[in-house]
Amino acid sequence: MQKRLIVNHQLLDIMVLRLCHQLIENHGDFSGSVILGLQPRGKFVAQRIQQTLASILGKQVPTGFLDTTFHRDDFRRREVPLAANATKIDFLIEGRKVILVDDVLYTGRSVRAALDAMISFGRPASVELLVLIDRLHTRHLPVQPNYVGLSVNSLQSQRVLVEWQNEETAQDNIWLITKTEV
């Protein structure tokens, strides 16, 4: 397995800051806007965006987490079923401008499931998509992000891994992983 670093922690900080300023261009003071991180890994991106926006705007933008497991179209088509995660949305979506947030955009199927899952909570005024990494030319569905951290050309056999700093990882990093045949 080969691991290539495509974004280091400094670049990632700059990337998140840029994405936040792009959001502010469209959402102003975020009245009527909410952030939804897609479980499991979009949650961390959403939290980071919320923190960064708080330091710029001086206020907390309502942020929730949306689980899409029960809305996926690959149930019973996978070898091992996906684990469901908690959905935590303690605000109304009806009439709000929703920003869906995920780490990596690949086939677009998660986003389709997320749109489906989100509608169960109400009818938003508009929906936008923010991703850290957009994997180009890999889409199965007509889904395009509104805000992109970095566009990456990658092979289907490769994988993009976004690591967040925690007990096990010292720094935030984004890796492009290539499986090598043994």
């Binding site: 497991t69 029960f70 149930f75 091992v80 079923p81 996906l82 684990a83 908690a86 909570f121």
Partner: protein, 307 residues
């Protein structure tokens, strides 16, 4: 993610503690779904489920049907009264005819213990046991344990007494298995004629005095006297049973602690439990019913992912 270790849910005896935890974690998520404005997810939209009930049921059947519909499955209902079973068709023939209509899962209740086990050896579809005679009622035990977990945070270490007609109760047997697998201490309490002779071999405590049992426990699961299964007299009269084993508010208030009251339903008010006890703040009887839908959604969802 882990998977269930079984293809069918025939009884709690056959599943592992990890299976139970997985069902609980999945049920947590479904409980969340049930509190949304739109209480439906499309997970099982390509699945057809037959509810095959050879015995009467209100709660279990409604709960299963609702769980199936919340998961977007197609549902067909069958009850033996008014069907060709009355014309002499065998269980296997009946079910095979239902399966010929391309059904993926069977939820079955039957008066004979082991009927779903028999079926599981002959058919391909996933089977969920919704009660087989006096044997097991796994989803009831799961929702009971889930309700205890919801109330206390965990089941391990809790003391649970099952009071009443243990001999004829499938709920009692499934509850004993489930609670023990989750690390709870279990006691049974009832008139000696309604306790199975070798019940101690399951590792449960036995108590004949209901007050002592209540003083010992954190949770009391009160069972119905199943007159329809009793071919002989096990106690002199219902009135006498109520006098010695009936739970009322006065008895609960006289204990030195507050215990939780559960009942799998249907309640015979004034027999095994009085109205003031069943409707008191200590009772989580209606929470059990609410949790039943989430638990059954979790079971159906997890079994459907194993084909």
């Amino acid at each position: 993610m882990q998977e269930l270790s079984v293809r069918h849910l025939l009884g709690i005896k056959d599943i592992t503690p990890q299976d139970i935890q997985l069902i609980f974690e999945t049920a947590d998520n479904f409980k969340d779904v049930l509190n949304r404005p739109i209480k439906k997810v499309p997970s099982l939209r390509d699945i057809t489920i037959a509810n095959v009930f050879f015995e009467n049921s209100t709660r279990t059947r409604l709960s299963f049907e609702l769980a199936e519909k919340r998961l977007s499955a197609d549902v067909i209902n069958f009850s033996s009264s008014g069907s060709s079973v009355k014309k002499g068709e065998s269980l296997l023939d009946t079910v095979n005819n239902i399966l010929a209509m391309k059904v993926d899962m069977i939820v079955m209740r039957h008066a004979s213990p082991g009927a779903p086990h028999f079926l599981s050896r002959h058919i391909e579809a996933n089977i969920v046991n919704a009660g087989d005679g006096t044997h097991e009622h796994p989803t009831q035990a799961l929702l009971d344990a889930f309700s205890i977990r919801e109330k206390y945070g965990e089941v391990a270490g809790k003391k649970v007494v099952i009071i009443g007609d243990i001999l004829h109760s499938r709920v009692a047997l499934s509850n004993i298995f489930a609670l023990q697998k989750l690390g709870a201490k279990v006691m049974v309490c009832g008139p000696v004629t309604l306790l199975p002779k070798h019940i101690k071999e399951l590792g449960v405590k036995v108590e004949l005095n209901v007050r002592k049992a209540l003083e010992w426990c954190d949770v009391a699961n009160v069972l119905r006297i199943q007159l329809e299964r009793q071919q002989m007299k096990y106690f002199p009269s219902l009135r006498e049973y109520t006098l010695y084993y009936g739970i009322d508010k006065k008895l609960l208030d006289s204990l030195n602690k507050e215990i939780t009251i559960m009942h799998p339903g249907p309640i015979n008010r004034g027999v095994e439990i009085s109205s003031d006890a069943a409707d008191s703040s200590q009772s989580i009887i209606l929470n059990q019913v609410e949790n039943g839908v989430a638990i059954r959604m979790a079971v159906l969802y997890l079994l459907a992912s194993k084909r």
